[in-house]
Amino acid sequence: MEWRIWTFVVCGILTLLPGSAADSAQTPKSGGVLNATLIEAPPSFSIHDETTISAVWPTMPCYNNLVLFDPLKKQEDLSTIIGELAERWSWQDEGKSLVFFLRKDVKWHDGQPFTSKDVKHTFDTVREVEGVTAKLRVNPRKLWYENVMSIDARDPYAVTFRLKRAQPSLLLMLASGYAPVYPSHVPVPELRTKCVGTGPFKLKEYRQGELIEFVRNPDYFVRGRPYLDGIRYTIIKERGTRYSALQAGRQDIPFPWEVAKTIAETTRRALPQLVLVEASTNVNDHIIVNFRRPLFKDPKIWKAINLAVDRKGYIQAGRQGAAVIGGVMLPKPYGVWGLPEAEQMKLPGFGDPAKQKAEAKKLLAEAGFGPSKPLKIAVSTRAIPIYVDIASYIIDQLKQVGIEATLEQVETGVWHPKMSRGEFEVALNLTGIGPDDPDANFYENFKCGSLRNYPGYCNEEIDSLIEKQSQTADQKKRLQLVNDLDKRLQLDGARLMLGWSKEYLVTWPHVKNLIPHQSIYNYGRMQEVWLDK
């Protein structure tokens, strides 16, 4: 009788072990089709043309990068980068050349051999090099490769990126889901409607707006991969239907990013056997003040706005608990480069809400605003529920310090043109960053004159610090520089940071090796995913 009790106890302990530990102990099984969910059709299959997770997530299985963040490690940094089309790589010329040594056993899905010519073609197209005829329709990440001077592909199996100056981050950007290698023999416009890659899965069928089906690539260069026979991405637009399909077992996994905490918990309550994983999205929420407007020439005004907002309240009211407080870079433990919490909490806006609100009122009074002459501002935001929810909370907070704020909802199609033209006073915005990397963030959002520097913030000293951190090869020194920059940017009000949202991935327990990273854009390859059925 006693052995039975002990068996029961041991089995109980084993079932309580974390899922990942149990996964690693299991031998992967081959076969089966993964039923994945999409919330909308991808705008195209051309990842280099797109900026939405709806394009990257279902297209990643078709392509390969030179390098990729290890899909089995949840935190992405330089040490978790693994080779894909590149067997190995080396930094040369004091960090001014990055040489990739390519695999020789790779074929495109149409049977053509892969060579360095394809790598050069891809990144010269993105860089819009003079003389390159291939052209992307929209080229959102040209800035990532601005420091690349030339790409040398004289050897068919080696390619050299020559840089204007050292930039360790280039490797991180090349490891992002946004950096696949395109075939040079297929015209770029054709890649918007079909997928010719080297990746673990080949496109079998695309029914516009309904279904994307991939089958295993039998010629894949990684022996024994992928484990799955195929992936079927079903586009389900209605949220209630999506979760019903997941509960009914029609879908194995939901779409990453869109699962709110409440929905995840409700779904799990209905089916306790589902696995719930919490992860970061690498998307931050912030307030933008338009520095081009005369009102904000007086720093007291934006400082008062910053102090008025209770950050803990924002997490509860704006994000229903699904966010963490943070600065310009994604905070730990999710990110690598964020400010330590203790330092972040010392910054204006993150202290005691009552004291801060009193200070905000004082600053407004000094600027000439008070109950008899209230400050009136319009808070613009996108007409999307999550934006409106957070903006409504901000307006309530501003009212508590005597600022009469009104909400201006802007249609998605108009939002970025308006922001780029500076047609706003104060705005509530969300920014997603591809890889968790300072260069990807700083150059796009904070450098003088950058297309996405909506507040019109410009500080030459900050620009030179951005350049300095970008060239620093020593990761410890770079982290220190990035932390200093983070603080400086927040103290300058470059963006009034609120926090970083979290995602909740609910999957069936038979789905193994799908490990969310701190950025949603980089773990969709599906090469290692298998089904325990």
Partner: protein, 318 residues
């Protein structure tokens, strides 16, 4: 009859021409176009690239020129190219037409087979318990939006059976049972609402007819109940019912948006909303024209059916 038909066809043509102008102008009145949306999702605006894409899609041309090109292509059977998917619009629209048509027809069958008999029963058993029950059920159908009912059906299925219909379109040639199951629940959700309307019209029309002298005479002659009810009364009560059925069918084609979304059926109605959001003009224009043609044809069919159902009606004479 020929003159009447010709008159109706000319009217239909003019209606469709008017519709084409309205669709075209209204779409252009909506702020922003596909190019703005492409850059909006990219998070930046590059004026040179924007201009180039506009030129490529012909959006840089004056609106009358764009309209003229669309009509010219339409008469040649060329529906243009989807801005969003970069493929011929017909390639996107074609597989969706049978889905919506099948759902509309099935929903209409549900509506007719539920609505007409229950309307007749309700009228024949006026003020009985059965009449009250049928009226309550009918009123409930009218009060419940079909998409809400659809959502409830899905939640009920998943909670009680752990099963829901396929989320991917199943062709009847591939698996007939799965195909029918896929369409059964949306057809019930949409058909129930329409059946309620048909039931109420049938009931009131039947009540009027059942009070007519010739029905009383038929009863007095001792004819069987089913002969009186179906042979004499229903035959003469069908005109308003047919009108409602025609209108409902036309309404269904364009009004299945939410039901198709809830049951994840890849029909034209669901796709139309997507195309509007993306300002995919070729798709929206052609789909709305398709819906307009269905509405015009449905009305024409109903008008022609009047003559067949009621021989007293003559076309083209004053």
């Amino acid at each position: 009859m020929r003159v009447y038909l010709l008159q109706r066809l000319i009217t239909a043509f003019l209606t469709l021409f008017g519709m084409s102008v309205v669709i075209f102008v209204l779409l252009r009145l909506v702020p922003e176009n596909i190019v703005d949306i492409l850059f909006a999702s990219a998070g930046f605006v590059n004026p040179a690239a924007k201009e180039e894409i506009s030129r490529e899609l012909g959006l840089d041309q004056p609106i009358p020129v764009q309209y003229g090109r669309w009509l010219r292509d339409l008469t040649r059977g060329d529906l243009g190219k989807s801005y969003r998917y970069d493929v011929p619009a017909w390639q996107v629209i074609k597989p969706r037409l049978p889905v919506t048509a099948e759902l509309a027809v099935l929903a209409l069958l549900v509506a007719v087979f539920l609505g007409v008999p229950s309307g007749v029963l309700s009228a024949v058993r006026q003020d009985s318990l059965l009449d009250y029950v049928l009226r309550i059920v009918g009123l409930a159908g009218l009060s419940m939006p079909s998409f809400w009912l659809g959502m409830v059906i899905i939640l009920f299925l998943v909670s009680w059976t752990g099963w829901i219909p396929s989320m991917i379109y199943v062709s009847p040639f591939e698996d007939l049972k799965a195909h029918l199951l896929q369409f059964l629940f949306p057809a019930l959700a949409v058909g129930y609402r329409s059946s309620a309307l048909i039931m109420r019209i049938t009931r009131s029309s039947m009540l009027d007819v059942l009070r007519e002298d010739y029905v009383r005479t038929a009863w007095a002659k001792g004819q069987r109940q089913w002969v009186v009810v179906f042979g004499h009364a229903l035959a003469n009560a069908t005109l308003p019912v047919v009108t409602v059925i025609g209108i409902e069918f036309a309404f269904m084609i364009g009004g299945l948006v939410v039901t198709e979304t809830v049951f994840n059926l890849p029909g034209v109605a669901r796709y139309l909303v997507d195309a509007i959001l993306w300002r995919d003009y070729p798709i929206v224009q052609n789909l709305v024209m398709f819906i307009a043609i269905v509405v015009v044809l449905a009305n024409l069919t109903v008008d022609l059916l009047y003559g067949w159902l009621d021989p007293r009606i003559r076309y083209g004479t004053r």
